[in-house]
Symmetry: D2
């Protein structure tokens, strides 16, 4: 399964060249992961933190293939590209403009890397590409 | 008439105290004005700029009444509080958390303050509070 | 006394019109207040939070008088415009481009508004304009 | 030669976990490249754009090795890791916290990839690691 969302390119995203400023793409990648966990995995970042859990990003790779402009509405997709015992790498794409790989680690109460809980793992596996 | 949108409070908006970092509210205010013009007034910021037009913000006042937290979904509203010949002041509210007044000036092709075109003025008047 | 800093206008600050995107000015105002407290008042925001103290911003007014452009180096100044028992309003200016008033409240350990500690009050009074 | 700058970690950079929000690292990487070009290569991004030139980022890889916290002052370094005919890859490091590789392409007046002008190439070669 693929998780998808549309992100409109707004004024705040764009640089003096009139295209998306690439650090804003990093925010969009985070937005995709955050909402995938909120809507699909069933773990919002707020309750996660309140429970002493966390999911830090340890690596991010982005390729900017074509510029996106103010007014574009980009369809984004997210799949799990690699699922480790305590980590996951997501492939997050914004059409033919940007392709990102982001790796997170699951941290449980003692804030050390911990195996994915079963229910989370099943959802992540269902989105394995 | 009142223009309204819901903005979810996401990780990117929040500061080390776990509440919205107030410069992010300024982005939300801009988002409200930008989408009001795109969806209701019928002037996206992209085509505006391509036509040599613009609508710079000349003043912004914000009162932060109660904190908003990660996971909150804030219902925002926008009305026209004052309509001048070449300017407009919007009252933009995010529930009981934040109240903003933002003043813009309409700039036409020579990039000088210009009277609102009739169609725009009518829409703005319809949203006068 | 006036506290001052120079802020170079960089690519990340600028919008498709090639001028500073005004929510970035709100970040600059916060930067001025934060560094005034770090360098002059002697209270970094990190130690403040670690001590269960805080200084939320309750109001911000900004007037954008002239655009600032990529490559400009703006000289900013900060003075205390009003000093209350538990609050302070700062006047923060970026040359002839932007003028901001920002109001903060001092919160002590129970995270309720508290009178400024004597040492802080003295420093704030010394910067009263 | 290595280009270096210190970046203080401020309130605006930090997330609800009290550490740098990783999209802000992408801004810091851009800040390093931008200031290297301004101060060392002698090409500010403003004059570049005014001359119809540009230097889009086509790829960014970041590894987040250890968290940086509010109040830290990170020493950053930049070297040229690979110098192509029309492109360059920079290795940009923030101490032992973050390691980034960012690839840019030189675009001349027709906004197509163009060979680095001689003077720029010499400076880039002098910073080849």
């Amino acid at each position: 399964m693929t998780y998808s969302r549309t992100i409109p390119i707004e004024f705040c995203h764009c640089d003096p060249a009139g295209i998306v400023f690439y650090p804003r793409y990093a925010e969009m990648v985070n937005h995709m992961v955050e909402n995938f966990f909120l809507e699909v995995v069933g773990h919002g970042f707020g309750p996660m933190m309140a429970a002493g859990q966390g999911m830090p990003t340890v690596a991010l790779e982005m390729a900017f293939r074509k510029p996106a402009r103010l007014g574009d509405r980009l369809d984004w997709t997210l799949v799990v590209e690699h699922l480790g015992r305590t980590s996951a790498r997501f492939l997050v794409r914004g059409e033919d403009r940007v392709e990102a790989r982001t790796t997170v680690v699951w941290m449980d109460r003692d804030f050390t890397p911990s195996p994915w809980p079963d229910a989370m793992r099943q959802t992540l596996e269902a989105h394995h590409a």
